[in-house]
Symmetry: C2
Subunit: 297 residues, 2 copies
Protein backbone atom coordinates (compact mmCIF):
# COMPACT_ATOMS: atom_id res chain seq x y z
CA UNK A 1 0.00 0.00 0.00
CA UNK A 2 1.35 3.45 -0.88
CA UNK A 3 1.41 6.27 1.64
CA UNK A 4 -1.51 8.04 -0.02
CA UNK A 5 -3.60 4.86 0.01
CA UNK A 6 -2.78 4.47 3.68
CA UNK A 7 -3.78 8.07 4.40
CA UNK A 8 -7.02 7.66 2.44
CA UNK A 9 -7.87 4.43 4.22
CA UNK A 10 -7.46 6.11 7.60
CA UNK A 11 -9.51 9.13 6.50
CA UNK A 12 -12.26 6.73 5.43
CA UNK A 13 -12.15 4.87 8.76
CA UNK A 14 -12.33 8.16 10.69
CA UNK A 15 -15.23 9.33 8.52
CA UNK A 16 -17.12 6.08 9.15
CA UNK A 17 -16.52 6.07 12.89
CA UNK A 18 -17.33 9.76 13.35
CA UNK A 19 -20.49 9.13 11.33
CA UNK A 20 -21.47 6.34 13.72
CA UNK A 21 -20.74 8.47 16.78
CA UNK A 22 -22.68 11.42 15.37
CA UNK A 23 -25.56 9.30 14.04
CA UNK A 24 -29.00 10.78 14.60
CA UNK A 25 -30.95 8.98 17.27
CA UNK A 26 -34.70 8.64 17.59
CA UNK A 27 -34.64 10.29 20.99
CA UNK A 28 -33.70 13.71 19.64
CA UNK A 29 -36.42 16.14 20.81
CA UNK A 30 -38.19 18.13 18.08
CA UNK A 31 -36.07 21.13 17.11
CA UNK A 32 -32.88 19.50 18.36
CA UNK A 33 -32.02 17.67 15.14
CA UNK A 34 -30.43 20.79 13.70
CA UNK A 35 -27.59 20.83 16.23
CA UNK A 36 -26.63 17.23 15.42
CA UNK A 37 -26.92 17.98 11.70
CA UNK A 38 -24.60 20.98 12.09
CA UNK A 39 -22.10 18.87 14.03
CA UNK A 40 -22.11 16.31 11.23
CA UNK A 41 -21.65 19.10 8.66
CA UNK A 42 -18.68 20.41 10.61
CA UNK A 43 -17.04 17.06 11.34
CA UNK A 44 -17.81 14.88 8.31
CA UNK A 45 -17.15 15.03 4.61
CA UNK A 46 -13.68 16.36 4.27
CA UNK A 47 -10.16 16.92 5.36
CA UNK A 48 -7.08 14.77 5.12
CA UNK A 49 -7.52 13.67 8.76
CA UNK A 50 -3.81 14.21 9.35
CA UNK A 51 -4.09 14.39 13.14
CA UNK A 52 -6.00 11.09 13.36
CA UNK A 53 -3.46 9.57 10.98
CA UNK A 54 -0.53 10.61 13.19
CA UNK A 55 -2.32 9.30 16.27
CA UNK A 56 -3.16 5.95 14.71
CA UNK A 57 0.35 5.52 13.28
CA UNK A 58 1.98 6.45 16.60
CA UNK A 59 -0.28 4.03 18.45
CA UNK A 60 0.61 1.38 15.88
CA UNK A 61 4.26 1.52 17.03
CA UNK A 62 3.16 0.05 20.35
CA UNK A 63 0.56 -2.46 19.22
CA UNK A 64 -2.41 -0.48 20.56
CA UNK A 65 -5.75 -2.08 19.61
CA UNK A 66 -7.06 -0.36 16.47
CA UNK A 67 -10.48 0.47 17.96
CA UNK A 68 -8.82 2.35 20.84
CA UNK A 69 -6.61 4.36 18.55
CA UNK A 70 -9.48 5.09 16.14
CA UNK A 71 -11.83 6.38 18.83
CA UNK A 72 -9.12 8.55 20.39
CA UNK A 73 -8.31 9.83 16.89
CA UNK A 74 -11.98 10.69 16.33
CA UNK A 75 -12.02 12.64 19.60
CA UNK A 76 -8.96 14.58 18.49
CA UNK A 77 -10.61 15.29 15.14
CA UNK A 78 -13.68 16.64 17.00
CA UNK A 79 -11.39 19.14 18.75
CA UNK A 80 -9.77 20.08 15.43
CA UNK A 81 -13.17 20.52 13.70
CA UNK A 82 -14.55 22.61 16.58
CA UNK A 83 -11.52 24.90 16.27
CA UNK A 84 -12.08 25.34 12.52
CA UNK A 85 -15.78 26.11 13.03
CA UNK A 86 -15.10 28.76 15.67
CA UNK A 87 -12.07 30.22 13.85
CA UNK A 88 -14.20 30.70 10.73
CA UNK A 89 -16.85 32.74 12.58
CA UNK A 90 -17.45 36.37 11.50
CA UNK A 91 -16.06 37.66 14.82
CA UNK A 92 -12.87 35.61 14.30
CA UNK A 93 -11.32 35.04 10.85
CA UNK A 94 -14.62 35.59 9.01
CA UNK A 95 -14.16 32.89 6.38
CA UNK A 96 -16.98 31.81 4.09
CA UNK A 97 -15.21 28.85 2.51
CA UNK A 98 -13.67 25.75 4.08
CA UNK A 99 -12.63 22.59 2.24
CA UNK A 100 -14.40 24.05 -0.80
CA UNK A 101 -17.77 24.23 0.98
CA UNK A 102 -19.58 27.09 2.72
CA UNK A 103 -18.40 27.37 6.33
CA UNK A 104 -20.82 26.20 9.02
CA UNK A 105 -22.13 29.64 9.99
CA UNK A 106 -22.87 30.30 6.31
CA UNK A 107 -24.56 26.94 5.72
CA UNK A 108 -26.54 27.18 9.01
CA UNK A 109 -26.29 30.32 11.13
CA UNK A 110 -23.88 31.87 13.61
CA UNK A 111 -25.61 30.66 16.76
CA UNK A 112 -25.71 27.10 15.46
CA UNK A 113 -22.02 27.31 14.49
CA UNK A 114 -21.03 28.45 17.99
CA UNK A 115 -23.11 25.67 19.58
CA UNK A 116 -21.95 22.96 17.17
CA UNK A 117 -18.34 23.89 17.94
CA UNK A 118 -19.02 23.83 21.68
CA UNK A 119 -20.73 20.46 21.35
CA UNK A 120 -17.92 18.90 19.27
CA UNK A 121 -15.35 20.04 21.83
CA UNK A 122 -17.44 18.54 24.62
CA UNK A 123 -17.99 15.35 22.62
CA UNK A 124 -14.22 14.86 22.37
CA UNK A 125 -14.03 14.48 26.15
CA UNK A 126 -17.13 12.26 26.19
CA UNK A 127 -15.42 9.93 23.71
CA UNK A 128 -12.04 9.73 25.45
CA UNK A 129 -13.62 9.21 28.89
CA UNK A 130 -15.72 6.31 27.58
CA UNK A 131 -14.37 2.96 28.88
CA UNK A 132 -15.00 1.58 25.37
CA UNK A 133 -12.22 3.82 24.05
CA UNK A 134 -9.62 2.44 26.42
CA UNK A 135 -10.00 -0.05 29.25
CA UNK A 136 -7.49 1.57 31.55
CA UNK A 137 -8.90 4.51 33.51
CA UNK A 138 -5.45 5.98 34.28
CA UNK A 139 -4.77 6.20 30.55
CA UNK A 140 -8.18 7.73 29.82
CA UNK A 141 -7.71 10.37 32.51
CA UNK A 142 -4.16 11.13 31.32
CA UNK A 143 -5.27 11.42 27.67
CA UNK A 144 -7.97 13.88 28.74
CA UNK A 145 -5.56 15.92 30.83
CA UNK A 146 -3.02 16.22 28.02
CA UNK A 147 -5.74 16.90 25.40
CA UNK A 148 -7.34 19.62 27.55
CA UNK A 149 -3.98 21.30 28.08
CA UNK A 150 -3.12 21.08 24.37
CA UNK A 151 -6.48 22.59 23.37
CA UNK A 152 -6.99 25.16 26.09
CA UNK A 153 -5.88 28.53 27.41
CA UNK A 154 -2.19 27.59 27.38
CA UNK A 155 -2.48 25.68 24.09
CA UNK A 156 -4.58 25.97 20.95
CA UNK A 157 -7.07 28.55 22.29
CA UNK A 158 -4.16 30.80 23.29
CA UNK A 159 -2.70 30.33 19.81
CA UNK A 160 -5.94 31.57 18.27
CA UNK A 161 -6.02 34.53 20.70
CA UNK A 162 -2.46 35.42 19.64
CA UNK A 163 -3.42 35.04 15.98
CA UNK A 164 -6.19 37.58 16.50
CA UNK A 165 -3.75 39.87 18.33
CA UNK A 166 -1.53 39.68 15.24
CA UNK A 167 -4.20 41.61 13.36
CA UNK A 168 -3.78 44.55 15.71
CA UNK A 169 0.00 44.81 15.83
CA UNK A 170 2.95 43.55 13.77
CA UNK A 171 4.29 40.12 14.79
CA UNK A 172 7.96 39.23 14.42
CA UNK A 173 8.74 35.88 12.76
CA UNK A 174 9.60 34.51 16.24
CA UNK A 175 6.24 35.64 17.64
CA UNK A 176 4.48 34.15 14.64
CA UNK A 177 6.33 30.87 15.24
CA UNK A 178 5.31 30.69 18.92
CA UNK A 179 1.74 31.49 17.96
CA UNK A 180 1.78 28.70 15.35
CA UNK A 181 3.35 26.23 17.79
CA UNK A 182 0.26 26.74 19.95
CA UNK A 183 -2.43 27.17 17.31
CA UNK A 184 -1.53 24.26 15.05
CA UNK A 185 1.43 22.57 16.76
CA UNK A 186 -0.31 21.63 20.01
CA UNK A 187 -2.76 19.16 18.42
CA UNK A 188 -0.03 17.50 16.32
CA UNK A 189 1.97 17.00 19.51
CA UNK A 190 -1.09 15.54 21.22
CA UNK A 191 -1.68 13.20 18.26
CA UNK A 192 1.77 11.62 18.61
CA UNK A 193 1.88 11.71 22.41
CA UNK A 194 -1.55 10.05 22.57
CA UNK A 195 -0.20 7.08 20.61
CA UNK A 196 2.54 6.74 23.22
CA UNK A 197 0.08 7.13 26.10
CA UNK A 198 -2.30 4.52 24.71
CA UNK A 199 0.68 2.21 24.24
CA UNK A 200 2.02 2.93 27.74
CA UNK A 201 5.35 3.67 26.07
CA UNK A 202 8.39 4.61 28.13
CA UNK A 203 9.58 8.20 28.44
CA UNK A 204 12.24 7.93 25.73
CA UNK A 205 9.73 6.70 23.13
CA UNK A 206 7.32 9.42 24.16
CA UNK A 207 10.03 12.08 23.88
CA UNK A 208 11.06 10.78 20.46
CA UNK A 209 7.49 11.05 19.21
CA UNK A 210 7.16 14.54 20.71
CA UNK A 211 10.36 15.65 18.93
CA UNK A 212 8.97 14.22 15.68
CA UNK A 213 5.63 15.98 16.25
CA UNK A 214 7.33 19.31 16.91
CA UNK A 215 9.29 19.14 13.63
CA UNK A 216 6.20 17.81 11.82
CA UNK A 217 4.07 20.70 13.06
CA UNK A 218 6.66 23.27 12.04
CA UNK A 219 6.99 21.65 8.60
CA UNK A 220 3.21 21.59 8.19
CA UNK A 221 2.98 25.26 9.09
CA UNK A 222 5.89 26.35 6.93
CA UNK A 223 4.45 24.46 3.96
CA UNK A 224 1.14 26.19 4.68
CA UNK A 225 2.82 29.59 4.79
CA UNK A 226 4.62 28.81 1.52
CA UNK A 227 1.32 27.83 -0.07
CA UNK A 228 -0.27 30.99 1.34
CA UNK A 229 2.49 33.06 -0.25
CA UNK A 230 2.36 31.22 -3.58
CA UNK A 231 -0.91 29.38 -3.74
CA UNK A 232 -4.22 29.94 -5.31
CA UNK A 233 -7.56 29.74 -3.60
CA UNK A 234 -8.90 27.01 -5.84
CA UNK A 235 -6.24 24.48 -4.90
CA UNK A 236 -6.50 25.31 -1.19
CA UNK A 237 -10.30 25.36 -1.02
CA UNK A 238 -10.11 28.42 1.21
CA UNK A 239 -8.99 32.04 1.14
CA UNK A 240 -5.23 32.53 0.68
CA UNK A 241 -2.59 35.27 0.95
CA UNK A 242 -4.25 36.41 4.15
CA UNK A 243 -1.12 36.45 6.29
CA UNK A 244 0.68 39.16 4.36
CA UNK A 245 -2.44 41.33 4.38
CA UNK A 246 -2.51 41.00 8.16
CA UNK A 247 1.08 42.12 8.82
CA UNK A 248 1.84 38.73 10.35
CA UNK A 249 5.49 38.11 9.48
CA UNK A 250 6.13 34.43 8.84
CA UNK A 251 9.39 32.59 8.25
CA UNK A 252 8.66 32.92 4.52
CA UNK A 253 8.87 36.71 4.80
CA UNK A 254 12.10 36.40 6.80
CA UNK A 255 13.85 33.75 4.69
CA UNK A 256 12.26 34.26 1.29
CA UNK A 257 10.68 31.44 -0.75
CA UNK A 258 13.99 29.65 -1.42
CA UNK A 259 15.29 30.03 2.12
CA UNK A 260 12.00 28.81 3.55
CA UNK A 261 11.98 25.82 1.18
CA UNK A 262 15.48 24.87 2.37
CA UNK A 263 14.42 25.26 6.01
CA UNK A 264 11.45 23.02 5.30
CA UNK A 265 13.76 20.26 4.07
CA UNK A 266 15.72 20.62 7.30
CA UNK A 267 12.56 20.18 9.36
CA UNK A 268 11.69 16.98 7.48
CA UNK A 269 15.18 15.66 8.21
CA UNK A 270 14.68 16.57 11.87
CA UNK A 271 11.39 14.68 11.98
CA UNK A 272 13.04 11.68 10.34
CA UNK A 273 15.96 11.79 12.75
CA UNK A 274 13.70 11.89 15.80
CA UNK A 275 12.18 8.53 14.78
CA UNK A 276 15.51 6.68 14.37
CA UNK A 277 14.93 4.63 17.54
CA UNK A 278 11.88 3.01 15.91
CA UNK A 279 13.71 1.89 12.77
CA UNK A 280 11.63 0.64 9.84
CA UNK A 281 8.46 0.61 11.95
CA UNK A 282 8.29 4.40 11.68
CA UNK A 283 8.52 4.55 7.88
CA UNK A 284 4.91 5.72 7.47
CA UNK A 285 5.34 8.56 9.96
CA UNK A 286 8.42 9.66 8.03
CA UNK A 287 6.40 9.52 4.81
CA UNK A 288 3.82 11.71 6.53
CA UNK A 289 6.40 14.40 7.28
CA UNK A 290 7.56 14.31 3.65
CA UNK A 291 3.95 14.46 2.50
CA UNK A 292 3.06 17.61 4.45
CA UNK A 293 6.26 19.33 3.32
CA UNK A 294 5.57 18.55 -0.34
CA UNK A 295 1.83 19.03 -0.46
CA UNK A 296 0.50 21.61 -2.85
CA UNK A 297 -2.94 22.02 -1.26
CA UNK B 1 -24.14 29.06 60.75
CA UNK B 2 -27.29 30.05 58.83
CA UNK B 3 -27.94 28.75 55.33
CA UNK B 4 -27.06 32.08 53.73
CA UNK B 5 -23.78 32.24 55.64
CA UNK B 6 -23.02 28.72 54.45
CA UNK B 7 -23.84 29.65 50.85
CA UNK B 8 -21.68 32.78 51.08
CA UNK B 9 -18.78 30.87 52.56
CA UNK B 10 -18.86 28.36 49.69
CA UNK B 11 -19.13 31.14 47.10
CA UNK B 12 -16.04 32.74 48.69
CA UNK B 13 -14.11 29.45 48.64
CA UNK B 14 -15.01 28.89 44.96
CA UNK B 15 -14.01 32.47 44.10
CA UNK B 16 -10.63 32.01 45.84
CA UNK B 17 -9.90 28.66 44.25
CA UNK B 18 -10.98 29.72 40.75
CA UNK B 19 -8.80 32.80 41.21
CA UNK B 20 -5.81 30.57 42.02
CA UNK B 21 -6.47 28.30 39.04
CA UNK B 22 -6.89 31.27 36.70
CA UNK B 23 -3.94 33.21 38.11
CA UNK B 24 -1.77 34.89 35.51
CA UNK B 25 1.58 33.21 35.05
CA UNK B 26 4.85 34.74 33.94
CA UNK B 27 5.04 32.39 30.99
CA UNK B 28 2.14 34.02 29.18
CA UNK B 29 3.45 35.13 25.76
CA UNK B 30 2.97 38.81 24.92
CA UNK B 31 -0.54 39.39 23.65
CA UNK B 32 -1.87 36.28 25.38
CA UNK B 33 -2.68 37.96 28.68
CA UNK B 34 -6.02 39.19 27.35
CA UNK B 35 -7.48 35.68 27.03
CA UNK B 36 -6.67 34.86 30.65
CA UNK B 37 -8.04 38.23 31.74
CA UNK B 38 -11.28 37.58 29.85
CA UNK B 39 -11.58 34.13 31.46
CA UNK B 40 -11.19 35.72 34.89
CA UNK B 41 -13.80 38.35 34.00
CA UNK B 42 -16.21 35.61 32.96
CA UNK B 43 -15.59 33.26 35.86
CA UNK B 44 -14.83 35.50 38.84
CA UNK B 45 -16.65 38.21 40.73
CA UNK B 46 -20.21 37.11 40.93
CA UNK B 47 -22.94 34.58 41.10
CA UNK B 48 -24.39 32.62 43.96
CA UNK B 49 -22.28 29.58 42.95
CA UNK B 50 -25.33 27.37 43.44
CA UNK B 51 -23.97 24.46 41.38
CA UNK B 52 -20.70 24.32 43.34
CA UNK B 53 -22.73 24.55 46.55
CA UNK B 54 -24.87 21.55 45.58
CA UNK B 55 -21.79 19.58 44.59
CA UNK B 56 -19.92 20.34 47.81
CA UNK B 57 -22.97 19.62 49.97
CA UNK B 58 -23.65 16.34 48.14
CA UNK B 59 -20.02 15.30 48.50
CA UNK B 60 -20.22 16.20 52.19
CA UNK B 61 -22.82 13.45 52.69
CA UNK B 62 -20.11 10.87 51.92
CA UNK B 63 -17.13 12.42 53.68
CA UNK B 64 -15.35 13.40 50.45
CA UNK B 65 -12.16 15.45 51.14
CA UNK B 66 -13.02 19.15 50.82
CA UNK B 67 -10.23 19.90 48.32
CA UNK B 68 -11.57 17.23 45.94
CA UNK B 69 -15.11 18.54 46.14
CA UNK B 70 -13.97 22.16 45.76
CA UNK B 71 -11.88 21.53 42.64
CA UNK B 72 -14.64 19.48 41.01
CA UNK B 73 -17.07 22.27 41.92
CA UNK B 74 -14.75 24.84 40.29
CA UNK B 75 -14.65 22.74 37.12
CA UNK B 76 -18.46 22.63 37.07
CA UNK B 77 -18.58 26.40 37.56
CA UNK B 78 -16.22 26.81 34.58
CA UNK B 79 -18.75 24.94 32.44
CA UNK B 80 -21.58 27.08 33.79
CA UNK B 81 -19.66 30.33 33.17
CA UNK B 82 -18.70 29.27 29.63
CA UNK B 83 -22.37 28.62 28.89
CA UNK B 84 -23.36 32.08 30.17
CA UNK B 85 -20.63 33.77 28.09
CA UNK B 86 -21.68 32.01 24.87
CA UNK B 87 -25.42 32.36 25.55
CA UNK B 88 -24.99 36.12 25.97
CA UNK B 89 -23.30 36.53 22.55
CA UNK B 90 -25.02 38.72 19.92
CA UNK B 91 -25.71 35.66 17.73
CA UNK B 92 -27.37 33.90 20.68
CA UNK B 93 -29.44 35.76 23.31
CA UNK B 94 -27.68 39.09 22.67
CA UNK B 95 -27.54 40.24 26.30
CA UNK B 96 -25.49 43.26 27.37
CA UNK B 97 -25.90 42.80 31.10
CA UNK B 98 -25.04 39.87 33.36
CA UNK B 99 -24.86 39.96 37.16
CA UNK B 100 -25.19 43.73 36.90
CA UNK B 101 -22.01 44.07 34.77
CA UNK B 102 -21.44 44.37 31.02
CA UNK B 103 -21.35 40.91 29.45
CA UNK B 104 -17.95 39.62 28.31
CA UNK B 105 -18.35 40.45 24.63
CA UNK B 106 -19.29 44.02 25.62
CA UNK B 107 -16.40 44.42 28.09
CA UNK B 108 -13.90 42.82 25.65
CA UNK B 109 -15.00 41.84 22.15
CA UNK B 110 -16.91 39.03 20.49
CA UNK B 111 -13.89 36.99 19.39
CA UNK B 112 -12.42 37.11 22.90
CA UNK B 113 -15.78 36.10 24.38
CA UNK B 114 -16.03 33.06 22.09
CA UNK B 115 -12.44 32.03 22.92
CA UNK B 116 -12.78 32.66 26.66
CA UNK B 117 -15.88 30.45 26.70
CA UNK B 118 -14.10 27.74 24.74
CA UNK B 119 -11.11 27.93 27.08
CA UNK B 120 -13.23 27.77 30.26
CA UNK B 121 -15.04 24.69 28.94
CA UNK B 122 -11.71 23.06 28.14
CA UNK B 123 -10.29 24.07 31.53
CA UNK B 124 -13.13 22.23 33.27
CA UNK B 125 -11.86 18.95 31.81
CA UNK B 126 -8.26 19.86 32.60
CA UNK B 127 -9.23 20.36 36.25
CA UNK B 128 -11.26 17.17 36.67
CA UNK B 129 -8.63 15.03 34.94
CA UNK B 130 -5.90 16.35 37.24
CA UNK B 131 -4.86 13.68 39.79
CA UNK B 132 -4.79 16.48 42.40
CA UNK B 133 -8.57 16.75 42.08
CA UNK B 134 -9.18 13.11 42.91
CA UNK B 135 -6.67 10.30 43.45
CA UNK B 136 -8.78 7.60 41.84
CA UNK B 137 -8.51 7.56 38.04
CA UNK B 138 -11.75 5.58 37.60
CA UNK B 139 -13.61 8.32 39.45
CA UNK B 140 -11.93 11.10 37.44
CA UNK B 141 -12.78 9.42 34.15
CA UNK B 142 -16.36 8.78 35.26
CA UNK B 143 -16.81 12.40 36.42
CA UNK B 144 -15.57 13.60 33.02
CA UNK B 145 -17.86 11.24 31.14
CA UNK B 146 -20.93 12.32 33.07
CA UNK B 147 -19.96 16.02 32.89
CA UNK B 148 -19.37 15.85 29.13
CA UNK B 149 -22.73 14.16 28.60
CA UNK B 150 -24.51 16.69 30.84
CA UNK B 151 -22.93 19.63 28.99
CA UNK B 152 -22.94 18.40 25.42
CA UNK B 153 -25.10 17.70 22.41
CA UNK B 154 -27.60 15.60 24.38
CA UNK B 155 -27.46 17.88 27.41
CA UNK B 156 -26.93 21.59 28.02
CA UNK B 157 -25.82 22.49 24.47
CA UNK B 158 -28.95 20.81 23.10
CA UNK B 159 -31.01 22.77 25.63
CA UNK B 160 -29.57 26.03 24.31
CA UNK B 161 -30.22 24.91 20.71
CA UNK B 162 -33.85 24.20 21.63
CA UNK B 163 -34.09 27.56 23.40
CA UNK B 164 -33.01 29.25 20.18
CA UNK B 165 -35.53 27.16 18.23
CA UNK B 166 -38.21 28.48 20.59
CA UNK B 167 -37.68 31.92 19.07
CA UNK B 168 -38.76 30.61 15.69
CA UNK B 169 -41.87 28.66 16.64
CA UNK B 170 -44.24 28.49 19.62
CA UNK B 171 -43.22 26.01 22.34
CA UNK B 172 -45.82 24.20 24.42
CA UNK B 173 -45.29 24.21 28.20
CA UNK B 174 -44.14 20.56 27.92
CA UNK B 175 -41.58 21.45 25.23
CA UNK B 176 -40.38 24.37 27.33
CA UNK B 177 -39.99 22.03 30.31
CA UNK B 178 -37.90 19.50 28.36
CA UNK B 179 -35.75 22.33 27.02
CA UNK B 180 -35.22 23.66 30.55
CA UNK B 181 -34.42 20.19 31.91
CA UNK B 182 -31.51 20.15 29.45
CA UNK B 183 -30.45 23.78 29.49
CA UNK B 184 -30.43 24.35 33.25
CA UNK B 185 -31.37 20.99 34.75
CA UNK B 186 -28.45 18.96 33.40
CA UNK B 187 -25.75 20.81 35.37
CA UNK B 188 -27.77 20.68 38.62
CA UNK B 189 -28.06 16.92 38.15
CA UNK B 190 -24.34 16.68 37.52
CA UNK B 191 -23.63 18.73 40.66
CA UNK B 192 -25.47 16.25 42.89
CA UNK B 193 -24.36 13.13 41.04
CA UNK B 194 -20.72 14.28 41.20
CA UNK B 195 -20.94 14.35 44.99
CA UNK B 196 -22.11 10.74 44.92
CA UNK B 197 -19.41 9.75 42.40
CA UNK B 198 -16.63 11.37 44.42
CA UNK B 199 -17.98 9.59 47.50
CA UNK B 200 -18.28 6.27 45.66
CA UNK B 201 -21.84 6.15 46.94
CA UNK B 202 -24.11 3.19 46.19
CA UNK B 203 -26.78 3.34 43.48
CA UNK B 204 -29.63 4.09 45.89
CA UNK B 205 -27.84 7.16 47.33
CA UNK B 206 -26.99 8.31 43.81
CA UNK B 207 -30.59 7.89 42.68
CA UNK B 208 -31.86 9.78 45.72
CA UNK B 209 -29.54 12.71 44.92
CA UNK B 210 -30.58 12.63 41.26
CA UNK B 211 -34.26 12.75 42.25
CA UNK B 212 -33.48 15.69 44.51
CA UNK B 213 -31.52 17.43 41.73
CA UNK B 214 -34.38 16.94 39.27
CA UNK B 215 -36.91 18.58 41.62
CA UNK B 216 -34.35 21.25 42.56
CA UNK B 217 -33.74 22.13 38.91
CA UNK B 218 -37.44 22.36 38.16
CA UNK B 219 -37.99 24.54 41.24
CA UNK B 220 -35.08 26.78 40.26
CA UNK B 221 -36.47 27.19 36.76
CA UNK B 222 -40.06 27.76 37.85
CA UNK B 223 -38.90 30.40 40.36
CA UNK B 224 -36.91 31.97 37.53
CA UNK B 225 -39.95 31.98 35.25
CA UNK B 226 -42.05 33.51 38.04
CA UNK B 227 -39.42 36.21 38.54
CA UNK B 228 -39.31 36.76 34.78
CA UNK B 229 -43.09 37.23 34.75
CA UNK B 230 -43.16 39.49 37.81
CA UNK B 231 -39.64 40.76 38.33
CA UNK B 232 -37.74 43.88 37.54
CA UNK B 233 -34.40 44.11 35.80
CA UNK B 234 -32.69 45.86 38.68
CA UNK B 235 -33.23 43.05 41.16
CA UNK B 236 -32.25 40.39 38.61
CA UNK B 237 -29.16 42.19 37.25
CA UNK B 238 -30.18 41.14 33.74
CA UNK B 239 -32.95 41.64 31.22
CA UNK B 240 -36.37 40.26 32.25
CA UNK B 241 -39.80 39.46 30.76
CA UNK B 242 -38.01 38.02 27.75
CA UNK B 243 -39.84 34.69 27.73
CA UNK B 244 -43.29 36.09 27.01
CA UNK B 245 -41.89 38.24 24.21
CA UNK B 246 -40.41 35.11 22.64
CA UNK B 247 -43.64 33.06 22.59
CA UNK B 248 -42.03 30.46 24.85
CA UNK B 249 -44.91 29.15 26.92
CA UNK B 250 -43.74 28.33 30.44
CA UNK B 251 -45.60 26.63 33.28
CA UNK B 252 -46.39 30.13 34.56
CA UNK B 253 -48.40 30.84 31.41
CA UNK B 254 -50.16 27.49 31.74
CA UNK B 255 -50.91 27.58 35.48
CA UNK B 256 -50.99 31.33 36.21
CA UNK B 257 -48.98 32.99 38.98
CA UNK B 258 -50.93 31.35 41.83
CA UNK B 259 -50.98 27.92 40.23
CA UNK B 260 -47.27 28.10 39.48
CA UNK B 261 -46.52 29.21 43.04
CA UNK B 262 -48.43 26.21 44.38
CA UNK B 263 -46.61 23.89 41.96
CA UNK B 264 -43.31 25.35 43.16
CA UNK B 265 -44.16 24.41 46.76
CA UNK B 266 -44.85 20.87 45.54
CA UNK B 267 -41.43 20.67 43.88
CA UNK B 268 -39.72 21.77 47.11
CA UNK B 269 -41.60 19.03 48.98
CA UNK B 270 -40.49 16.55 46.30
CA UNK B 271 -36.85 17.62 46.72
CA UNK B 272 -37.19 17.28 50.48
CA UNK B 273 -38.78 13.87 50.18
CA UNK B 274 -36.03 12.55 47.92
CA UNK B 275 -33.45 13.21 50.62
CA UNK B 276 -35.31 11.35 53.42
CA UNK B 277 -32.76 8.48 53.37
CA UNK B 278 -30.03 10.90 54.49
CA UNK B 279 -31.96 12.21 57.52
CA UNK B 280 -30.60 15.31 59.27
CA UNK B 281 -27.36 15.20 57.24
CA UNK B 282 -29.24 16.58 54.23
CA UNK B 283 -30.75 19.59 56.03
CA UNK B 284 -28.59 22.09 54.09
CA UNK B 285 -29.57 20.63 50.70
CA UNK B 286 -33.21 20.93 51.75
CA UNK B 287 -32.59 24.55 52.75
CA UNK B 288 -31.07 25.08 49.31
CA UNK B 289 -34.25 23.90 47.59
CA UNK B 290 -36.33 26.24 49.79
CA UNK B 291 -33.90 29.05 49.04
CA UNK B 292 -34.16 28.80 45.26
CA UNK B 293 -37.94 28.58 45.46
CA UNK B 294 -38.20 31.69 47.63
CA UNK B 295 -35.48 33.82 46.05
CA UNK B 296 -36.49 37.20 44.69
CA UNK B 297 -33.40 37.76 42.49
Amino acid sequence: MTFLEDLDRTAWAVEQRLGEILAARDTTPPGGAELAEAMRYGALGGGKRLRPFLLIQSAGLFGVPQASALDTACALECVHCYSLIHDDLPAMDDDDLRRGRPTLHVAFDEATAILAGDALLTLAFEIVSNPQTCEDAETRAELIHVLAKASGWRGMALGQALDLAAERRAFTPEETASMQALKTGALFRFACEAGAMLGRADASCRDALLAYAKAFGQAFQLADDLLDAQGDAEAMGKAVAKDASRCKATLVALLGIDGATAHLAGLVAEAENALKPFGEEAATLIDAARFVAERRA
